[in-house]
């Protein structure tokens, strides 16, 4: 059982890292601001989400797992808000 949980953790964390890395790559390589923002916000939330998902079985207690989930929820909320604001700035700059 714990072996299964460990395998799940490794798999999910690796997937999360992959998405974070992909987001970084997108930020560095995409041609214009809006598509860079697109790459960043998607990969960001998914990457952190997968890592949190992977670490939850390791948290040991329900409270610890909820804490991890809260971290992710806050990051998502902030990411969405700031994504909106950056997009607005980018549009104003291009006009």
């Amino acid at each position: 059982m714990s072996l299964l949980a460990d395998a799940f953790t490794v798999l999910a964390v690796l997937a999360g890292l992959f998405f974070l890395a992909a987001g970084t790559l997108g930020l560095l390589r995409f041609p214009d601001t809006l598509s860079r923002l697109h790459a960043l916000t998607k990969a960001d939330g998914l990457g952190l989400g997968l890592i949190v998902l992977g670490l939850m079985p390791q948290a040991g207690s329900l409270l610890g797992a909820l804490k991890l989930l809260l971290v992710w929820a806050l990051a998502m909320l902030a990411g969405a808000t700031v994504g909106q604001m950056i997009a607005r700035i980018a549009r104003r700059e291009s006009q």
Binding site: L70, L74, L77, A78, A80, T81, Q84, M85, R88
Partner: protein, 313 residues
């Protein structure tokens, strides 16, 4: 083993790179972004060194609060970008600055290389006496029991800083609402976030203060989180600060230091001296001081971040 070494090397390298980038940035705004990034990487490094307390403080106060304070300063300097280029200090001054900075760095490096082995430390003594304070976190024990004077003075410095910020207010604006008078921002995304995040953040801030007795956390970190939440709501145009002339506001700012000093004076009658706690009440008194300090720190930080009043009441 080699993997962790590699991580640590990468971290150390990142700290240096962020620091260099911050210093080398051409515009103030870039430098502030670099500074915040630097604080973030540095707090990761503190975690790797096993000092979660310092990491928390660095993340909250170093990267978060100072970063936004600097940002406010750049925004206020924004009109003077041209002057920035024109008013370069004289060559001699620049050389002297560079020379003394280098001298300081060399002296620090020399001291570090010549540290006694083992380094002189009071840590074992502090750990041995921790039980007397009934606290689980040695850092809180040191800060509030044995080095209480330092902590008290830090709290007083914040009050002085608020007075300093207020004293640059124009005469006509004295007594008014601090900060820019801003129209409510029409950004719906920001308004939504500023309605959802602060309640969660307040819980986290109080949690940080409360666990400070047993685990990493404490008044300064918790107070910073509380202040950040209020300023977030302010930036979204949801709340307005009370006027500077408000008596209640001023009482909040000085409450923490006053309670601290009062308990300290009490100590000089009931216990061994100023800032010493009577043995039976050590933990409740420390918690009381922490709670009062948290409120004052939060209010003082908000006032610092919001800035001096700009318009008449």
């Amino acid at each position: 083993m080699s993997a962790t070494l590699l991580i640590d090397l990468a971290l150390a390298f990142s700290v240096l790179a962020a620091a260099l980038w911050t210093v080398a940035a051409r515009r103030a705004f870039e430098a502030v972004v670099g500074f915040v990034a630097f604080g973030l990487v540095l707090s990761l490094a503190w975690v790797r060194l096993g000092t979660v307390d310092v990491a928390l403080t660095e993340a909250a106060v170093g990267a978060g609060a100072s970063g936004v304070l600097l940002l406010g300063a750049t925004a206020r300097l924004g009109a003077q970008t041209l002057a920035e280029v024109r008013d370069q200090p004289a060559m001699a001054l620049r050389i002297a600055t560079g020379f003394f900075c280098a001298l300081l760095a060399v002296a620090l490096g020399w001291t570090l290389l010549n540290l006694g082995d083992p380094a002189p430390s009071l840590a074992p003594l502090a750990a041995a006496n921790l039980a007397a304070t009934e606290l689980g976190n040695p850092v809180s024990g040191v800060l509030l029991a044995w080095r209480a004077l330092d902590t008290l003075l830090e709290a007083v410095v914040l009050v002085l800083a608020v007075i300093g910020v207020w004293s640059v207010a124009p005469d006509g604006a004295w007594g008014g609402i601090p900060g820019d008078i801003q129209p409510p921002r029409r950004d719906p995304a920001l308004r939504l976030a500023a309605q959802i995040i602060p309640p969660i953040g307040v819980v986290i801030g109080v949690h940080l203060v409360w666990t400070g007795a047993e685990a990493p956390g404490g008044a300064f970190q918790g107070g910073t989180v509380l202040a950040a939440m209020w300023v977030l709501a302010w930036m979204a145009g949801l709340v307005r600060p009370p006027a500077v002339s408000s008596r209640r506001l001023r009482v909040w700012v000085i409450l923490g230091p006053i309670v601290f000093i009062a308990i300290g004076l009490l100590g000089s009658f009931l216990a061994d001296g100023f800032l010493a706690y009577p043995a039976a009440f050590t933990k409740p008194l420390i918690l009381l001081v922490e709670a009062a300090l948290t409120f004052s720190i939060a209010v003082a930080l908000v006032l610092l971040l919001v800035g001096p009043p700009k318009a008449a009441p």
